[in-house]
Subunit: 344 residues, 2 copies
Amino acid sequence: MSEERGLDYRSAGVDLEQAERTKEGLRALVDSTRDEHTLSGLGLFGGLYEVPPGHRAPVLVSSADGVGTKLKVAFRTGRHDTVGQDLVNHCVNDILVQGARPLFFLDYLATGRLESSVAEAVVRGVALACRENQCALLGGETAEMPDFYAADEYDLAGFIVGIVERDRILDGSRVQEGDRLVALGASGLHTNGYTLARRIVFDRMGLDVEDPFPGEDATVGDVLLRVHRTYLSALLPDLGLDGLHALAHITGGGMGGNLPRVLPEGLGAVVELASWEVPNLFRVLGSGGAVAPEEMRRVFNMGVGLVAVVDEGECGSFVERLLERGEEAWVLGEVVEGSGVRFA
Amino acid sequence: MSEERGLDYRSAGVDLEQAERTKEGLRALVDSTRDEHTLSGLGLFGGLYEVPPGHRAPVLVSSADGVGTKLKVAFRTGRHDTVGQDLVNHCVNDILVQGARPLFFLDYLATGRLESSVAEAVVRGVALACRENQCALLGGETAEMPDFYAADEYDLAGFIVGIVERDRILDGSRVQEGDRLVALGASGLHTNGYTLARRIVFDRMGLDVEDPFPGEDATVGDVLLRVHRTYLSALLPDLGLDGLHALAHITGGGMGGNLPRVLPEGLGAVVELASWEVPNLFRVLGSGGAVAPEEMRRVFNMGVGLVAVVDEGECGSFVERLLERGEEAWVLGEVVEGSGVRFA
């Protein structure tokens, strides 16, 4: 150690030029999501988005989320272009259930060592979902954090801002006894329960991502990476409906954890277990991990991705319109006096 | 393995009840940041914030950021209540330089195993800085990701939304030759260059966080954790000034990387190295790591946290007002024909 070389940032593990080149590569993806209200491109310190004119009393609705350990499945398969869609769609659903449509989105991508092709695949997924949800990708942060993340791993978080007229906010306050619960089908695990699901599939069942998933015409990787779907196009036409009293996004905590978030004090919900067939994916996980049914319902969505709370009289036509739009939708149960969720 | 126990989420590493209790503990902190435009509390899927009335053509300015490997210093000292301030102030500065004042903030906190006291300390810092910057903490995500983060480590990202009148956006377009660069002093490393700084201080110099920092009346931990300051109160009174042509937040890439972001095509900047004394902290890092001066300026802020680009005629009174507000401010250089930044 008599002759120590001078240190620089690159030898310490951060390559600013490489980061700059990667950002340049993302520019076209970001630009593909611009709309008429996007006033800035990449490169400014903050992204600029005009409040769309024509609102009487505009309220911004915002949410932050991550992808959780579903990322581990992406690492294991080497497929990085779906997790960005999971992230955007999750965030879109979280503001949709308050009655808002999305305006813009920002992402946070933190890695051990920035691999351009991986970053590009991740952001390609983000941008695709932004376009699908008519949402501008207004900015983001790509952080290179050596000795923090493994070289080939990353974490991904997202932030969304949407807008709703003040008198159109859905907050559950209009929910009443006798309202019907309408379920909208999930596309898979969405982004919840992956720590348990991976334990079951990879450790207990001894499967790997290229193996066929039991009972499905798809690999384990395909099934576990199924994109968390957006409910925007399914529900946007009905957001102004007087009979639509609340929406609940079924995420961590399952129906039992999420439905009560939109039920007023003194009201609970009954979910009829006979009203739908739990998809194969969840049945395989339940038996593969010998997970108790109550625990399954607490961790996973069980095939119900979103629940609408609808006035009894408007429920029939509401479900019919959803079916016409190609949605899987059914009456799941109803709102009753009490509290919490009872599965019957 | 003949008798395998059934799996549950908790044995897989995720404790939903514990997470729920932690969230309850954060409620008072979040509530302490509410303002008259905050329409939602914790618990909804998305946070609600009304667009403050009275704007002619409101534009939202948004930014996402992380704390980077400054977090490693927090882990090493066990002090978790400053990194949240770093995060919020960094984000506030990033939208301030476009002319915006903050409306609301959301955080993303990802951990290996959720330790209530650590999460509470982190969010306490976030909430403190939100109050200082008159910014509501509108929501956030706390993710427990075992076998992703070490049990006692976490990552922290943030997302801010602010507002500016369309004709008051600062985007550098009004910058012209002869404009003066006015420096505002930094409080320390802010949130940049920590991968290199830690390498120098801990590995090369062999110091630990409790050791005195050379030339400072403070420990290594104190010096490295100095909070990334906000420039909101320093600059808010002058944001509407016609002679204020641009602001640049000096973050990753230093002055050379950040000043050009607000200079129009065909204009560059000259920074007079003799105009200020580089703070002791940076001199110690430079000599301790034998880092070349150009590399130091590329990685660190060198004591210049923010640069204002001001009309020559208004520069004197602008600096005077900053000094009256207790700011460390000086004329750093000027805008010239050309491109990039030349240090003279």
